[in-house]
Subunit: 361 residues, 2 copies
Amino acid sequence: MNNRIHNFSAGPSTLPTSVVQEMQENLLSYQGSGMSVMEMSHRGDLFMEIIEEARTRIRRLYGLSDAYDVLFVHGGASLQFAMVPMNFIGEGESADYIETGTWSTKAITEVRIQNKGVRVVASSGDREFTYIPEAFDFSPEARFVHITTNNTIRGTQWHALPETDGVPLIADMSSDILSRPVDMDRFGMIYGGAQKNMGPSGTAVVILRKDFVERIPQALPTMLSYRTYVEKESMFNTPATFPIYAISLVTKWLEETMGGLAAMEAVNRRKASKLYGVIDEDDFYEGTAEKNDRSLMNATFRLRQRELEPVFVKQSLEAGFAGLKGHKSVGGLRASIYNAVSEASVDVLCDFMDAFRRKHR
Amino acid sequence: MNNRIHNFSAGPSTLPTSVVQEMQENLLSYQGSGMSVMEMSHRGDLFMEIIEEARTRIRRLYGLSDAYDVLFVHGGASLQFAMVPMNFIGEGESADYIETGTWSTKAITEVRIQNKGVRVVASSGDREFTYIPEAFDFSPEARFVHITTNNTIRGTQWHALPETDGVPLIADMSSDILSRPVDMDRFGMIYGGAQKNMGPSGTAVVILRKDFVERIPQALPTMLSYRTYVEKESMFNTPATFPIYAISLVTKWLEETMGGLAAMEAVNRRKASKLYGVIDEDDFYEGTAEKNDRSLMNATFRLRQRELEPVFVKQSLEAGFAGLKGHKSVGGLRASIYNAVSEASVDVLCDFMDAFRRKHR
């Protein structure tokens, strides 16, 4: 359709074609206003409706109670790595972090940079982050337990939440936000960069439990305090209006086309199951993550014949696929199958992988 | 053209129609790649070319020497208000700030929040920020002198830089960046949110003199250290790819269509001169800023008959103008005539204002 490629990029990544089409149609004149969403005041009625729609749809998709606020914060997940300890770990306090890959390591680093208390209570670094740790030793006095629900680079995902004895979770959900229902009662905060399951890069969505706001110290720089975003409804300064517009359309698509998060998860499971099925058929392909912990969002794999990997990447590009090269830090191959990657695209990829195997076995 | 409105919004604000058209044409498939710029890896060749083009064109437009880096930093100017003292005012050091309106006040507030040394060496707060102060008492030991080159809300602008005895300037140029040539040798740093003269909101452009990088302390949160953006070429994490794409197109338009910053300034002066000419014709309209300090970007004015202001706003909307209502904190009227507001749009506005005067005099 419209010469769209099969886009398996890990992020920024594909958006639903219908969403991009709607953005395209409205780009010069949003709903007859004579201007693009990019060009309108963030305090005007038109944009206020857009941000409210994005917020409301996220609330509805996750079934959020009034106990939670939905915020749009600048700067992607990496800025949240710093804001979380700044806002929620006070003097003499400490938080527990579980290390499951590059992004969680970065989150931990940001706590240490601030000389805040952090205990790494489990890590899968001993086996190159190819699994999700099962044994934990949480501190009952921890302010929160931080997890990375999906690990984009290594292709692992939490399929059940860790038991934390009532200590609230804070989760970086950048790469699986809005991909499945979530037991929200377990979370003090969820955050995610927009650019995988929600829209263009440049903003993060933060879902914050209101009692967490009380923990925020008063003296933080204004833009680095979640309180600012709560009190000003994410409008202390100009928010990233165009990404928020995309989020409003993507969440509309999630509700009205895909039928909500449970239905979306079912599709995501089917897509992943097809793809892992091809990988597991024999030893031509090798999944790199422990089977039980495999991600429904990022399927990481290798070719047993390593020397064929560049051939695979080259031929996949020629065949109209994008983004199948693994992250530069680990190599190999990766197919990111976020919400907006259609089942039809996954089918075409499976066919390509089958054919590649037949040719090179 | 395409039912585009005459958009005088203060920010986010209009982009050149040709730029939005090019974005529209490429929205589903950028240069035949089968994906939008929003949907492609920020580390792929296509986006690397885009960010390099944006950087190079900004360098060329300002005639930057190798002594300066061009950075794309998350979060708009408001985050820079906090990052500037965090990066450039050390223990026992101090900076001089000139207060010329809301945004400079906010910048000063962020220094104080961090308990960093700040001296407000001049303020036009005594007359509601309607002028640019002329008398300064700079501290020779100040790390830098901070100014806000254009004051969007009150409609004032620095037309000559303050003499600072060799102390480098740091300037918030959010609302007049790339609107005129700048004597770059005077500046240690220039920053501006994208959403007025450059593109959609969600990123800031920072021009940083390299010797300033040496002043940055080591222990800052990664995303809050300008050093990160210098060392990683603004790609430590995913930058705001779509706004940066827009910046690449807007700067191309500035170079290739408008003919560079000197030519752009000439057009901007002509537009402002026409508009202030209408305002000054008699006492029906009243400019709110001191004539010598009037902004070329934001013309702020009132109606002598205050009760007519809502009528003006209403009729302007009906006549196909957007954004003529003054900032909520000061009321009145404002026409923002950034680079992308065409001279033709200004002419139409002048005609509207003339007609309104004839009708209501």
